[in-house]
């Protein structure tokens, strides 16, 4: 996933089926970060979908969903490193 392609808040809400409010709350709580003001990386798309699904499927609190997303991102980074070194 590239970090240099940025999308707008509005695009993020459309492709992830979440509301602006949903995103704003999680930005304020630090569960989600914008690349620059109102702009997001494609990595954020993945994170938002993940958090939304975890919250919905397991009735997870946003903080817990964000924590699981953190762990999954870490797992992916480690797996990618393993793949490169193999």
């Amino acid at each position: 996933m590239s970090d240099d392609v940025l999308i707008t808040l509005e695009e993020l809400t459309v492709v992830c089926s979440v509301s602006r409010e949903w995103v704003r709350e999680r930005l304020e709580e630090g569960l989600l970060t914008a690349a620059t003001e109102g702009r997001f990386t494609l990595r954020a798309v993945r994170r938002v979908r993940r958090m939304r699904e975890l919250e919905r499927d397991f009735d997870a609190a946003p903080e817990l969903a964000a924590l699981v997303a953190d762990l999954l991102e870490e797992l992916e980074a480690l797996r990618a490193r393993l793949g490169r070194e193999a």
């Binding site: 492709v15 494609l42 798309v45």
Partner: protein, 298 residues
């Protein structure tokens, strides 16, 4: 259209309580969660589980499904009676067009009416080669469309889309004015790009990964070998003494973005079969004459 047994998908009885259904869903959501599941068909199973839960967790949809599904077995050809849903008033509008099966769309299609005048969004599958050539592609989208009775069916809409060179996995292509019409100005259509799995190529961001099979002597002595790439053939120098598993990086020969990605060639040494008489004789000679222990030091 096949009848879908949503109770079977979730592994619950028809009489299951809302709580039992929720528990069964969570157990399966964990089992088939695409990020952690080791099941080969996790994604497809998760989709079925989501669809089953979308119906059975909603009292109105569940009641309609129960009434309609009496006497059907899973996989059986299914025809809903005309206007079967008269008398059901669905209050929720949470249907995400295209995500669920035809069976779901047929049954609950009338809830598919999306907010009008909004940006629409669809995933589009491209070939890795498309990122190099930037072709114009026909993209078929299934769009929920309402008829005169307010009932929604999936309609196929074909668009010609110019794919930009250097397009990346996850990137959005915005087609102005191709979203839903709102009486006034229509919204945009956002296409999210994904690549079909390819037998030889794998894309990681801007980098292109390719397996490179080489003969033992090419690896040992070094060679210049041709590699077929989406943009055409490229001659690559294998350094002498290259071992299997080594990854050669060719700068700037990945996805042609700005700056372009790299090409990563994973060397795979392929041995000639010893069934060939001449090859066998050479192997036997090497075995005799070379003091070589591949496990030395391991």
């Amino acid at each position: 259209m096949e009848y879908k047994d949503y109770y079977g998908t979730l592994g619950v009885q028809r009489e299951a309580s809302a709580d039992e259904i929720r528990k069964a869903f969570r157990r399966l959501a964990r089992k088939y969660h695409p990020d952690v599941s080791k099941e080969p068909d996790a994604e497809a199973r998760m989709k079925e589980v989501n669809e089953a839960y979308a119906v059975l967790s909603d009292a109105e949809k569940r009641a309609a499904y129960d009434q309609l599904g009496q006497g059907y077995r899973p996989g059986e050809e299914f025809r809903p009676p005309p206007d079967w849903d008269a008398g059901f008033e669905f209050s929720h509008r949470d249907f995400q067009g295209g995500d669920f099966s035809d069976f779901f769309a047929e049954l609950f299609g009338r809830m598919g009416a999306q907010a009008h005048g909004r940006d629409h969004y669809a995933k589009v599958l491209l070939d890795v080669e498309d990122a190099f050539t930037g072709p114009t592609r026909q993209v078929a989208l299934r769009v929920p469309k309402a008829d005169a009775h307010g009932r929604v069916a999936l309609e196929t809409r074909t668009l010609n889309v110019r794919i930009p060179v250097g397009v990346r996995e996850g990137q959005l292509i915005r087609l102005a004015g191709q979203g839903a019409a709102a009486g006034g100005k229509p919204g945009d259509l956002l296409l999210e790009v994904h690549f079909r799995p390819h037998g030889r190529f794998r894309v990681d961001g801007r980098d292109l990964h390719v397996d490179l099979p080489v003969a033992p002597w090419e690896a040992a002595l070094g060679a210049v070998v041709p590699v077929a790439l989406p943009a055409g053939e490229l001659k690559v120098r294998i350094p002498a003494g290259a071992q299997g598993g080594r990854v050669l990086r060719v700068r700037g020969k990945g996805i042609p973005a700005d700056p372009p990605g790299d090409l990563l060639l994973a060397i795979r040494v392929v041995l000639p079969s010893a069934e060939d008489e001449k090859a066998r004789a050479l192997y036997e000679q090497m075995a005799r004459d070379l003091a070589f222990d591949p496990r030395a030091g391991s």
